[in-house]
């Protein structure tokens, strides 16, 4: 048993003392109705005791105060050695229910934990430069209430109760569901762990710093395929070995959700003690390269822009499943080849954050870096629709 380092002990006391003066974020202790009644009772009995010098009332007062102390001790013990871990299972898609898991473990040896609740929040945010600090006094043109209302609107809150006790050494998993309203980046936070235990006098909420930032993909969308020009193979082009489900094995990679179980290489997996799947070269050369352009001048309607992103996401996934997606790119970025599911996920992650691009005058056109054949692009289709084009022909529409 090694003694704790002196610096660690100093830090603990510093934190403890500072915590008395300046509580941590989301750390609250609020009396409930029974707590207010208890405090009122204690004050009343104390006043009567001093007024009458009756030791009976002093005894009652001492017992009430001792019960308050006991309540604090038990509340502290209840939350002690409790571990929690936030588990978010991607993908999150706009408009679809997402499950946030919370794995709990009671590390105590023989004391159970009771009566907890967990406050979650999902906050949509944008990754950009932090705003300049403003105050309500010096800020100009700031509508504080509007800003607060906007912040509230972008938040989804929820509370999950631990209905049963958590035995010593036991684990439990809780789930919270929420539906992201739109694509983007969402910060899922475990804002606090609260409890009324043991007697319901105080509502104790302990703040946590547990958060996960997860991209929310565009929502899937229905689209229709149209009879368009078949994909062309350029003359003399060699068949390129590309990851797919046919041909010779070219590599082993880690198993990703969605991969077929028939592709699992059991021997290698047993050796490495993790699932590995076989990657084959594909003979299919009618695959497409997807190029997404987000010109603000083209996509003037926000809802059409969102539809385009949803269409692109849905189409990319469908093409990948059928082994016909070669590469993806957004605006001026180079084409990123798609060999496995993680590549598609990365594309969808980028889609979550993409915004209409305002082209600067004089910037080079990115068209010349793109494949000449089987290039999948998107154009507005009317006032509300979006169409997908391959080799200049409309092949699908949403």
């Amino acid at each position: 048993m090694s003694p704790a380092p002196r610096s660690g002990r100093r830090l603990f006391w510093r934190r403890a003392l500072w915590g008395l003066l300046w509580p941590r974020r989301y750390e609250r202790i609020q009396p409930t109705i029974s707590g207010v009644v208890l405090i009122g009772l204690a004050l009343g009995i104390g006043t009567a005791a001093y007024n009458s010098a009756s030791n009976i009332l002093f005894i009652a007062l001492a017992l009430l105060l001792a019960c308050l102390i006991l309540s604090g001790v038990l509340a502290w013990l209840n939350l002690r050695r409790l571990e929690w871990q936030l588990e978010v299972e991607p993908p999150l898609r706009a408009g679809q229910q997402a499950q946030v898991g919370l794995a709990l473990r009671n590390g105590k040896k023989f004391l159970p934990t009771y009566a907890l609740w967990f406050e979650f929040a999902a906050v949509m945010f944008e990754r950009k430069d932090p705003p300049k600090p403003e105050s309500t006094i010096t800020g100009k043109g700031i509508d504080v209430w509007a800003a607060l209302a906007k912040a509230e609107a972008s938040e989804t809150k929820g509370t999950v109760h631990l209905g049963t006790r958590l035995d010593p050494g036991a684990t439990e998993r809780l789930e919270w569901s929420f539906t992201p309203a739109r694509r983007g980046l969402v910060r899922i936070e475990l804002r606090g762990v609260g409890s009324l235990f043991p007697f319901g006098f105080l509502r104790k909420l302990t703040g946590t710093d547990l958060r996960r930032e997860v991209p929310v993909w565009p929502s899937p969308v229905e689209y229709r395929r149209l009879a368009g020009a078949p994909p062309r193979r350029p003359e003399g082009e060699l068949r390129r070995a590309r990851a797919g489900n046919e041909g010779e094995m070219i590599a082993l990679r880690n198993y990703a959700q969605g991969d077929s179980h028939r592709l699992i290489h059991w021997k290698a997996s047993a050796r490495k003690r993790q699932l590995l799947i076989r990657q084959f070269s594909s003979q299919n050369s009618d695959a497409c390269a997807l190029w997404l352009r987000t010109d603000a001048s083209v996509w003037t309607r926000p809802e059409q822009f969102e539809l385009m992103l949803s269409f692109a996401a849905t189409l990319a996934q469908d093409l990948f499943r059928s082994g016909r997606l070669l590469s993806t790119a957004i605006d001026g970025a180079p084409q990123a080849s798609v060999r496995r599911l993680a590549d598609v996920d990365a594309f969808l992650d980028r889609l979550a954050e993409v915004v209409p691009l305002v082209e600067k005058p004089g910037s080079p056109s990115p068209v010349r870096d793109r494949p000449r054949f089987n290039l999948l692009t998107f154009e507005p289709d009317g006032a509300r629709g979006v169409a997908a084009y391959v080799n200049g022909s409309k092949t699908a529409a949403a």
Binding site: M1, F58, A60, A62, C67, V73
Partner: protein
């Protein structure tokens, strides 16, 4: 497969909540029975109703909805009417509280209602404690606190099990599921199944901690003397026992002696000065008429005007070197405070309204105290057989018998009765020529020769005064008749005399070291004025004749005959402890306690320092001694032992040693191994036993439960068990 430990489901939690709430209400309602405010009928009715609803939780569903709607208006109307009728606020509030508890007891409760039950019950318990200052309060408040904490905890857990969506208000008239399926035996069985001795021990330890912390807080809370009297007593009127009023009829004192409860306890700062036979005087009665003695209006003038203070300083009468007497007078005895005689100072805990007569050595409060009254007396002589009264001596000298009709005359008697008394005195040779002492001796001798003591006297029928008739007869009588007869005989002979009532004697509690005087010690005696001494001499016609030496005995010799070591004395010592250390705990006592703690701490520190110094000295002397092989070996062995201990503590190996040297000797694994060798039972059971035997401790199912199943499996298949044991080498 890991078995989940058992826990109460939601219905069982609600049933447990109902049980705790009902018990809490019964405990608090029980306090009303000893409050003595005339609400016993209400308390009994409430107790029965709550008990019925507790035993049959389905009963409250039968209460009609209109009863719930009208309950609060009816209760409020009753309170208003009760207050108007009785005119006393506190009893009316207590009855209101009882009715509210009764209503809560026969209704299904939500969280808010349970909180109301706790508050209403606490009010009753605290009021009972304040009014009675009884030791029972200590037990009740502890039981109530434990019950209330348990109830609140169960409520919190139950609400959490409902996901925080428990209803705020209970639905009236609807039978909840848990009440429909209530079964107390099943609940008891389930509680037994889920009980974990470690949790119970922790809960008990925590409660003991609460009591200890509350004790420390009680000692540490600063006290300020605000000189306010006890406020609750003003709202309750109590009546004292008839025998200790300023007007008694024959038999009043004897009636009190039928009661063996404690009247008061007396602490003595110096037990060496404890008298053998103390007479605790309370009232002096000088006016005899209509077959009874009373305090005459003239003698009332001997009392000073009423004062309000916590201290009584008569100015004169204190005895130097006298011990300090602390009295704990129970409620319902009298407004006249028992004392031995004149004193130097008397102190109450808080300001009191009182009147004191230095001539009579009698002190009276304005009202009978509703709770135990404590007071401390300094400068009071242990034995006051003589009460000097210079004022009366002066009046006697100047006015003579004719000028003091009350103390000498018999205005309430007819001429025929007076003639009888004269004949009685003449027959007994009781004349004014005798001195007061000689007269008293002969009069008492005469009374004892013609009458016997009895608690059931017989006064012959006939005309005239009943006391005179009794004196003329040979019937037995009680102390009042004896004392009254002595006074009549003395006055007939021309001696001033009067009756004094109070208590005589008592027992000495061997455990708490104090006098305990019971109502059965109530007594009446006489006082005769001795002009030669200018003093009233106490004469008790029923006193047992003892030698002068025996009468003058004090301390251990005197207390030997009064020693009480019975179980009643043991219980009474708890009550005295309660009064001394808790009820009478004031600023001075707090300062003394803190000083004692400081001295004890300082003393123990000094002791420790001295012990360490002595150890160092002895070690130094040992090292200086001649060295030989034995000494070197001893030193080496000590150093090795200390080193091994330090190493084991530093590396944590001592923990393994205390756990039985690791996994192999774990008793649970050993037991599981034994069962595995014996059993060939169901797969689940064997799997659990294997997990206990070989698995990591955090993954174990509950060992107790698994072993119980193993025992059941073993007992259900005896043939298989025998086959297994035969095949095992």
């Amino acid at each position: 497969m890991e078995a989940r430990p058992q826990r109460l489901n939601l219905e069982e939690l609600h049933l447990l909540r109902w049980l705790l709430g009902g018990c809490l209400m019964l405990v608090s309602v029980a306090t009303v029975f000893y409050m003595d405010i005339g609400s016993e009928v209400f308390a009994a009715a409430a107790s029965l109703a709550i008990l019925a609803a507790l035993v049959r939780p389905a009963l409250p569903a039968r209460v009609p909805i209109w009863v719930h709607r009208l309950a609060f208006p009816a209760i409020l109307a009753f309170f208003a009417g009760d207050l108007w009728r009785s005119g006393q606020l506190l009893p009316a509030i207590v009855r209101l509280d009882l009715l509210l508890l009764l209503y809560r007891g026969v209704s299904y409760r939500a969280r808010r209602d349970d909180l109301q039950v706790v508050v209403l019950g606490l009010f009753l318990v605290v009021v009972a404690g304040v009014l009675t200052v009884s030791l029972l309060f200590a037990g009740q408040i502890l039981v109530f606190t434990a019950g209330a904490l348990g109830l609140l905890m169960v409520v919190t857990i139950a609400d959490s099990s409902e996901g925080g969506a428990a209803p705020k208000l209970a639905v009236r008239g609807v039978l909840p599921g848990w009440a429909a399926h209530a079964g107390w035996r099943r609940l008891a069985r389930r509680l037994w199944e889920i009980s974990d001795w470690r949790l119970l021990a922790s809960a008990a330890a925590l409660f003991v901690g609460v009591v200890a912390v509350s004790g420390l807080l009680f000692l540490a809370i600063p006290r300020f003397q605000l000189e306010n009297s006890l406020f609750l007593e003003r709202f309750v009127t109590k009546r004292a026992m008839t025998g200790f009023n300023d007007s008694i009829k024959f038999g009043d004192i004897t009636e009190i002696t039928q009661d063996d409860s404690v009247a008061f306890d007396v602490d003595l700062s110096d037990p060496a000065q404890a008298p053998a036979q103390p007479y605790w005087r309370m009232i002096v009665l000088d006016d005899y008429r209509d077959g009874g003695f009373k305090l005459s209006p003239a003698l009332r003038l001997a009392f000073d005007r009423e004062r309000t203070s916590a201290n009584v300083f008569p100015g004169l009468g204190g005895v130097r070197g006298a011990p300090t007497w602390t009295f704990y007078l129970e409620s319902g005895v009298s407004k006249y405070l028992p004392i031995l005689g004149r004193f130097g100072a008397l102190r109450f805990r808080e300001a009191q309204n009182y009147r004191y007569s230095p001539d009579l050595a009698v002190i009276a409060l304005r009202d009978e105290p509703a709770a135990m009254t404590a007071y401390r007396v300094d400068g009071m002589a242990p034995e006051a057989g003589e009460l000097h009264d210079l004022a009366f001596a002066g009046r006697w000298k100047t006015r003579g018998p004719a000028g003091l009709p009350l103390q000498v005359g018999l205005p309430g008697l007819s001429d025929a009765d007076k003639e009888k008394l004269v004949r009685l005195d003449a027959d007994g040779g009781l004349t004014a020529s005798l001195g007061a002492q000689e007269f008293s001796r002969k009069a008492i001798e005469l009374l004892k020769s013609t009458h016997h003591y009895s608690l059931s006297p017989h006064i012959p029928a006939g005309p005239g005064d009943p006391l005179v008739r009794w004196m003329a007869s040979r019937e037995s009588g009680h102390c009042e008749l004896f004392a009254g007869s002595f006074v009549l005989m003395a006055r007939t002979a021309g001696f001033p005399a009067r009756v004094v009532t109070g208590f005589k004697g008592g027992t000495w509690n061997a455990y708490s070291g104090n006098y305990t005087i019971r109502n059965s010690d109530a007594h009446a005696w006489a006082e005769i004025f001795d002009a030669t001494k200018s003093a009233w001499i106490r004469e008790d016609p029923l006193a047992v004749a003892v030698s002068a030496d025996a009468a003058a005995e004090k301390g251990d010799a005197a207390l030997a005959g009064l020693m009480d070591r019975s179980w009643a004395a043991r219980l009474n010592s708890l009550r005295v402890f309660w009064y001394r250390r808790i009820v009478n705990f004031d600023q001075q006592t707090q300062a003394d306690t803190l000083k004692a703690v400081k001295e004890a701490t300082g003393g123990s520190g000094k002791w420790l320092r001295d012990a360490v110094l002595a150890l160092a000295q002895s070690a130094k002397a040992w090292f200086r001694g001649p060295w030989d092989t034995t000494r070197i070996a001893e030193l080496a062995a000590s150093a090795a032992a200390v080193g091994a201990l330090a190493w084991s503590v530093a590396t944590g190996r001592w923990r393994l040693a205390s756990m039985g040297r690791g996994r192999r000797f774990d008793p649970v694994r050993r037991e599981a191994g034994r069962w595995l060798r014996r059993l060939d039972g169901p797969g689940d059971l064997v799997a659990d036993l294997q997990r206990l035997r070989f698995g990591a401790a955090p993954t174990w199912p509950r060992p107790g439960e698994v072993f119980r199943r193993a025992r059941r499996a073993a007992s259900s298949s005896p043939r298989r068990r025998r086959a297994v044991s035969r095949s095992t080498p």
